[in-house]
Subunit: 295 residues, 2 copies
DNA sequence: GGGGTTTACGTCCAACGTAATCATG
DNA sequence: CATGATTACGTTGGACGTAAACCCC
């Protein structure tokens, strides 16, 4: 609805107190700022800026809209920061290889913490792939540090546990299970769920957990979808339940779009492990690991 | 850097598993989707989608980028939701009037909770103004429910406390105080701070708290700025400290862009109060209040 | 007169839709 | 041959910069 440039403009006006100053900061003409603002104001049908002959102030409405805008811009900045790690700098960059869930949710967070603790962090290049590939890259010297979520650790690499990932049973708020206090493991196992294709890390972890809890094997899935994204979408539709990483659904849970249902009789949890070659940690990798574990 | 439509497109492709399906969902031609995707891919210089003659799948990189994109889109959706409350529907809408900090940070959150708990919430119109104006609107029948953060409650309105707002002393991570265990109230009072103009609610609250703690009056400010936005920016510059609402800086604190320093010897805290006319609460207002307090 | 702002106008690029082409199961 | 993707091309609208005018201390 509202484009990012318009929001950035509003915030700049709020910070500087003048359209022209905001224009200088943004590197556009003052007229462009004026135009952007009027477009934004009309699209919200609210007056956001009190213009005057010597400076402009945000109206009360402008203040709160600018506050809301800051949230969006912060999210966009985080995206840009994360995206930068895909291409990475040239030399002296820290090369990370992480399995999907970790690369998506945890690595950006860790890099943020690292940035806050260390004055100047080196460039980072992040690649996302499955656990076996992560380990192969480390052996081949194509990566300095890896993160995996499988229980089976390779013997020829050093490792340390850096966190836990919990799997949670989620349903839409309208689903019958949404109001259940808990679901017993066997009932979960025999109910058709929305699942990733077999072989996916999350599905293997669920399988393994149920098996070690002694419940019957998983029922045939209600649907088998190629991505967590698609699974989430289907669950929000309201007809089926799924088991997903807590990391993947935490915002949905916080917003109330999905509901977590406790499962009794099985430990749905797996360790997240950092791995690196026996030849040792590079300085940057060691520094990052320290930042992660110190948090 | 990346525009929202491109991100939306990527997510749609991930959910549907095909460019054409995504195009239908987005209401554009399939060619447009193809073009958007290629622009995005080249701007990130990464392959995000594995195209094939019968469907397309996200690459591992595509999966994590789509995940990051979802965060941005969720933030944008929250913005749109909040922005809707500025114009509001027509009749049967709940008219809220809130002071700035509450309107900016809390009302959107409360409405989300309300939405999650009640099947269908009515339209909402939100106006932001200072506490006196909020009360006047309630008396005049121009609003159904108000939220204020002043300690002085008008006697002719009903009220209930709905939360607490904490004021926190914040500095940049590079500021000398960033590593201090605590600051004593008198030291805070005699240090020039970055403040809002006198008369602002936050400044009055700080003044009152220090006074009731028996410390000397506040020193002359290091700078007097017209908006919290500007104050935040100056503090991030690193030279000065400020006292701001915890609500206004929580994301900065979480990201490590600012550091909170405990203050000893003074209670920097104020109640957030819902107020409404003696004539009673409307049904919608009562329902909202219940959702807030039940959370 | 020196910020600060708006109005007017011409330019240009980026995004889209139509149409034709290619690939695959 | 139906489905899905790309390439090619012409149109257009929105966003920007230049220029001129206005307003207030």
């Amino acid at each position: 609805m509202a484009d990012l440039d318009a929001l950035r403009t509003l915030v700049a006006v709020g910070q500087t107190g003048s359209l022209s100053a905001a224009a200088r900061e943004l590197g556009v003409t003052q007229q462009a700022v004026s135009a952007r603002l009027r477009t934004l104001e009309s699209s919200l049908s609210s007056v956001l800026v009190q213009r005057s002959a010597r400076g402009s102030l945000l109206t009360p409405t402008g203040v709160i809209v600018a506050g809301w805008a800051r949230e969006v811009l912060a999210a966009a900045d985080r995206f840009d920061q994360s995206a930068l790690t895909l291409t990475g700098g040239r030399d002296k960059t820290l090369r990370l290889a992480a399995s999907l869930t970790i690369a998506e949710h945890l690595v950006p967070r860790w890099l943020n913490i690292w940035r806050a603790r260390v004055d100047e962090i080196p460039g980072v290049r992040l690649t996302a792939e499955n656990s076996e590939t992560v380990c192969r890259r480390l052996r081949d010297g194509d990566a300095d540090l890896g993160f995996i979520e499988t229980p089976d650790l390779p013997g020829d690499l050093d490792h340390v546990v850096v966190g836990q990932d919990e799997l949670v049973l989620v349903v839409a708020p309208t689903h019958p299970w949404a109001t259940r206090a808990e679901i017993a493991a066997p009932e979960l196992a025999r109910t058709p769920l929305v699942l990733r294709e077999s072989g996916s890390g999350t599905r293997r972890a669920l399988d393994a957990a149920l098996q070690s809890a002694g419940t019957p094997r998983l029922a045939d899935p209600a649907a088998e979808l190629p991505s967590t994204l698609a699974v989430r979408g289907t669950v929000r539709g309201g007809f089926h339940a799924a088991v997903l990483s807590a990391l993947a659904v935490d915002t949905d849970l916080a917003e109330g779009a999905l509901v977590a249902v406790p499962v009794r009789g099985v430990m749905l949890r797996r360790a997240l492990t950092a791995v690196w070659p026996r030849t040792g940690l590079t300085g940057a990798a060691r520094s990052l690991l320290e930042a992660i574990s110190g948090s």
